[in-house]
């Protein structure tokens, strides 16, 4: 009985670990040069590049415009005064 309980806890632990944390395979994928990670901007590039298949060029001003329309600047962030003194 005790052996069964130990085996069950061991297997349960493995399931918990693999579901709650990134597996080493996923982790190595992330550490590789994944294109989905640093996308340039949220959704804009994938939208421009993939939907119509025409792959239009993207300029720096497009990035600014997309960011201006998005929420990046509204995220709750530590204030500079918590880090620096001028």
């Amino acid at each position: 009985m005790r052996a069964w309980l130990s085996l069950a806890s061991f297997l349960g632990g493995i399931v918990l670990l693999t579901s709650a944390c990134a597996t080493s395979e996923e982790w190595s994928e992330w550490r590789g040069h994944t294109t989905h990670f640093a996308s340039g901007t949220h959704g804009m590039f994938s939208m421009r590049n993939n939907k119509d298949g025409s792959n239009p060029r993207v300029a720096r001003t497009d990035v600014d415009a997309a960011r201006a329309e998005n929420w990046w600047g509204k995220a709750i962030t530590v204030s500079p005064e918590q880090i620096f003194q001028n």
């Binding site: 990134a22 996308s39 993207v58 995220a75 709750i76 003194q85 001028n86």
Partner: protein
């Protein structure tokens, strides 16, 4: 449809076509000012030492800001956060060449599964170290005897906080290190563990101080090698 309505519509369309390049040009001009906006305004510094540093190295910092702006559009330097601040806890007037960047990235399920300190390690390894390297390359600035060290602050969206109806939260790692340690680490004369032990850093979850977390630093060439597909840097930009 009455003829005059068509005429009015035609006139409006013509006006739009005529003025849209002007409007676009104005928008572009506003965005083109962004690299300069990254520099901390001189009047905000509170000591003569800092003002002098900001004056002396303004052009180099502007070039540095332009390079990030033009060549790494997935990064954003917070307005006024490129300059020579001092560390909050430091009672003296030690000035650090400092850059605060925000990393633009989408929600990523693998990244989201990482514990918070692992996310901080990953973001610092990927972006923070490269920023340190780029700042250290500004030798005329770093060699200034009034510069005590380097500082890099990296912010990114905390996974899971971008869902509709939620307030997005940034996680932020702020690090300060003396010049000699930074140089030795970048030249591989000091191991990552020693670099971490000598550096002073804090992690913030939104506005909440998490504190000094077990930071791991590893090699990650992403930021120096990544090329955004279909992206055209502005004309004249020197991207390396």
């Amino acid at each position: 449809m009455p003829r005059y309505v068509l005429a009015v519509r035609g006139g409006l369309l013509a006006a739009l076509l005529l003025f849209s390049p002007l409007v676009n040009g104005m928008t572009s001009a506003a965005h083109a000012a962004a690299p300069a906006d990254a520099l901390m305004p001189i009047e905000k510094y509170t000591t003569e030492k800092a003002k002098s540093l900001a004056n002396t190295h303004r052009l180099r910092l502007l070039e540095f800001s332009e390079q990030i702006y033009n060549c790494m559009p997935w990064l954003f330097v917070y307005p006024g956060r490129l300059g020579f601040p001092r560390e909050k806890e430091n009672g003296g007037d030690d000035r650090y060449l400092s850059t605060w960047i925000w990393v633009d990235q989408r929600e990523d399920p693998v990244f989201a599964k990482l514990p918070q300190e692992r996310r901080a390690s990953a973001m610092f390894s990927r972006y923070g170290v490269d920023m340190l390297r780029r700042m250290a390359a500004l030798s005329d600035v770093v060699d200034d005897s009034d510069v005590a060290g380097l500082s890099v602050v990296v912010s990114w969206l905390k996974p899971g906080t971008t869902r509709p109806g939620q307030k997005a939260v940034n996680e932020t790692l702020a690090l300060f290190v003396d010049k000699a340690t930074a140089a030795d680490f970048l030249a591989k004369r000091v191991a990552a563990e020693e670099f971490v032990s000598r550096a002073r850093f804090n992690l913030f979850d939104g506005e909440t101080l998490v504190g000094r977390v077990p930071l791991q630093v590893w090699e990650d060439s992403f930021n120096s090698t990544y090329k955004l597909s279909n992206y055209d840097p502005p004309k004249g930009a020197q991207c390396q």
